[in-house]
Symmetry: C2
Amino acid sequence: MYKRGVRALPRNGAAGNGNPTLEEVARVAGVSRATASRVFTASPKVSPKARRAVERAAEKLRYVPNRAARTLVTGRTDSVGLVIPEPTSFLFGDPFFPRLVRGIGEVLSRRQLQLVLLMPQSKEDEARLEGYLSAGHVDGVLMVSLHGNDPLPERVHRRGTPVVLGGKPNVDSPVNYVDVDNVGGARSAVEHLIKIGRRRIATVTGPLDMGAGVDRLQGYHDALRQAGAQIDPVLQESGDFGQPRGAKAMEALLHRRPDLDAVFCASDAMAAGALETLRRHKRRVPQDVAVVGFDDSTIATSTVPPLSSVRQPIEEMGREMARLLLAGLDSPPSGGKRVILATELVVRASSGKGGRE
Amino acid sequence: MYKRGVRALPRNGAAGNGNPTLEEVARVAGVSRATASRVFTASPKVSPKARRAVERAAEKLRYVPNRAARTLVTGRTDSVGLVIPEPTSFLFGDPFFPRLVRGIGEVLSRRQLQLVLLMPQSKEDEARLEGYLSAGHVDGVLMVSLHGNDPLPERVHRRGTPVVLGGKPNVDSPVNYVDVDNVGGARSAVEHLIKIGRRRIATVTGPLDMGAGVDRLQGYHDALRQAGAQIDPVLQESGDFGQPRGAKAMEALLHRRPDLDAVFCASDAMAAGALETLRRHKRRVPQDVAVVGFDDSTIATSTVPPLSSVRQPIEEMGREMARLLLAGLDSPPSGGKRVILATELVVRASSGKGGRE
DNA sequence: TTGAAAGCGGTACCAG
DNA sequence: CTGGTACCGCTTTCAA
C-alpha cells in the first residue's frame, strides 16, 4: 500500500499552486525530509555536506517553505497584527499613526516578524477580524485607537493570543497596555497657562469614549482644582481630535464665554482649528487668548503662531508596545502589565513670549 | 492501536494554545469529524439535527477553525495583501492612500476577504515580505507606489500568486495593472494653460522612477508639441510629489526663467508648495503665473487661491484593482490585463477667472 | 548525524 | 446524509 503517489492526478486543492515541497527538495538533495527540514529550521545537527546539498536543491527548485504547514505544527506564524479601527481618512490624516508604526516596525523588524496592518471599517469588518485574529493568523496583536468599550481585545486575549493595547482601555481589563501620561501632560499644560496669568481657561477635549480624551480632561480639572479655581462646564467643549471639530468647538466657547483668555486643546489638530476661529474673531494669540495643544506634532510648528504643546514619545510608545508583545510571545499568557511614558510641555509663541505677562 | 490520545501529555507545539479542535466539537456533538466539517464549510448535505448539534457544540466550546490547517488543505487563506513600499511618514501623509484603501476595502469586504496592509520600510523588510507573500499567507496581492524597477511583483506573480498593480510598472511586465490616464490628464491640463494664453509653461514633475511621474511629463510634452511649441528643459524641474520639493522646484524654475507664466505640477501637494514660493516672490496667481495641480485632492480646495487640478478616480481605481484580483483568484493565473481610468480637468481660480485673458 | 514515522487540524473522497 | 480515512506539507521525537 503506497503512502504517496496513489492518486492518478494531483489533487487540485493542495496549497493551490504547484510549488515545490520539502519532500522534493530532499529527494533532489538525496537526503531525507527530516534532514532537509533541519536545514531550514537552523537545527545544529546537520553535516556540512548534507546542508550544502539541501541548500543547492532548494535554490534550484526555488523552494519556499509553506507557511500553513509550518504553522500547523509549530503554532507560530511569525507575524503580528496591528489593529487600528478608524476610518481610513482619519487613519491616514493623523500624524500620530506614522510615528507609532515606525516605532513598532523598528522592533518587530529586528526580530524578523512581519507587521500586518488591519483596518476594520465597519461592524462586519470587526466581526470578521475577530475570526482572523483568533484563528491563528498572527502570533500576537497590537491595538490602538480603541473607542468606547470595544470587546475585541479581551476576546482575542481570552483565546490565548497575546495582546497589547496602545492607550488605556476604558474599562478595567486584564489586557496589557502602554500609555503616555495624559493626565500629567494635560495638567502641566494648564498649570503653565495659570502661571502666565490666565484665569478663564477653556478646554476642547478629545473624544470622551477614549482613555486619552478622558485623561486629558482629567488633567485639566486637576490643575484648576489644585490652583483653587472653579471648574466651569461652560468653559468645556468636546471634540474628536480633528481640526474641523476644533474650529467649531472654539466657536462655541467664544460664543459662551467671550472673555476667555486661554484654551487647552487635547490635540494639535484641534488647536490649529481653534487658531483659525480665533483669527476670524480677531482675537490675538497669545495676547488675548493663549493656546496650548497636545501631541507636539508637525502641526504645532507650522501654525501661526507656533503652538505650545505637550510632547508625547510616540515612537517610544510603539517600541514599548512591540517589546511587551514580544515578551508575551515567549512566555505564557500574561496580563495586567502596563507601561506609562512621561510627557513634556514644549512652550512656543502661542502661549509664550509676546504675551501680556 | 489508538489513533489519537496516544501521548501521555499533549505535545506542546500544536497551534500553541489549547483551543478546541474540530474533533472535539464532533465528539461533543456526537457526530463524526467529517460531518462537523461539513457544517462549517456550508456544505449542503447535513441533516438539520446534526447541524444544530454541531453548532451548539461549537458555541459551547467557543470553537474557531484553525486557519493554518484549513489553508493547508484548501490552499486558500481568504485574505489579500496590499503592499505599499513607502516611508510611513509619506504613506500616512498623502491623501491618495486613504481613498485607495477605501475603494479596495469596499470590494474585498463584500467578499469576506480580509485586507492586510504591508509596509516594507527597508530592503530587508522587502526581502522578508517576498517570503511572506510567496509562502501562501495571502491569496493575492495588490501593490501600489512602486518605484524604479521593483522585482517584487514579478517574483510573486511567478510563484503563482495573483498580483494586481496600481499604476503602470516601469518595465514591460506580464503583471496585471490598473492605472489612470496620466498622459491624458496632464495633456488636458497643459492644453488648458495654452488655451488661456500662456506661452512659457513650466512643469514640476513627479518622481521619474514611477510610471505616474513619467506619464505626466509625457502629457506635458505632448500638449506642447501639439501646439507647436518648443520643449525647453529649462522649464522642467523634477520633484517627488511632496510639498517641500514642490516649493524648492518652483524656486529653481523662477531662478532660471523669471518670465515663466504658468506651471503644471504633477501633484497638488507640489502645487501647494509652488504657490508658497510664488507668493514669496510676489508673483500673483493666476495673473502673473497660472498654476495647475494633479489629484484634485482636498489640498486643491484649501489653498489660496484654490487650485485647478486633474481629478483622478482613486476610489474607483481601488475598486477596479480589487475586482481584477478577485477575477484572478478564481481563474488560473492570468496576466497582461490592464485597465485605464479616465481623468478630468477641474478648473479653479489658480488658472481661471481673474486671469489676464 | 540521519531516517522513519507520528502527528498538527482540517477537507473531501468514497462507501454505505 | 454520514462515517472512515487519506492526505495537505512540515516539524519533531525516537531509534538506529
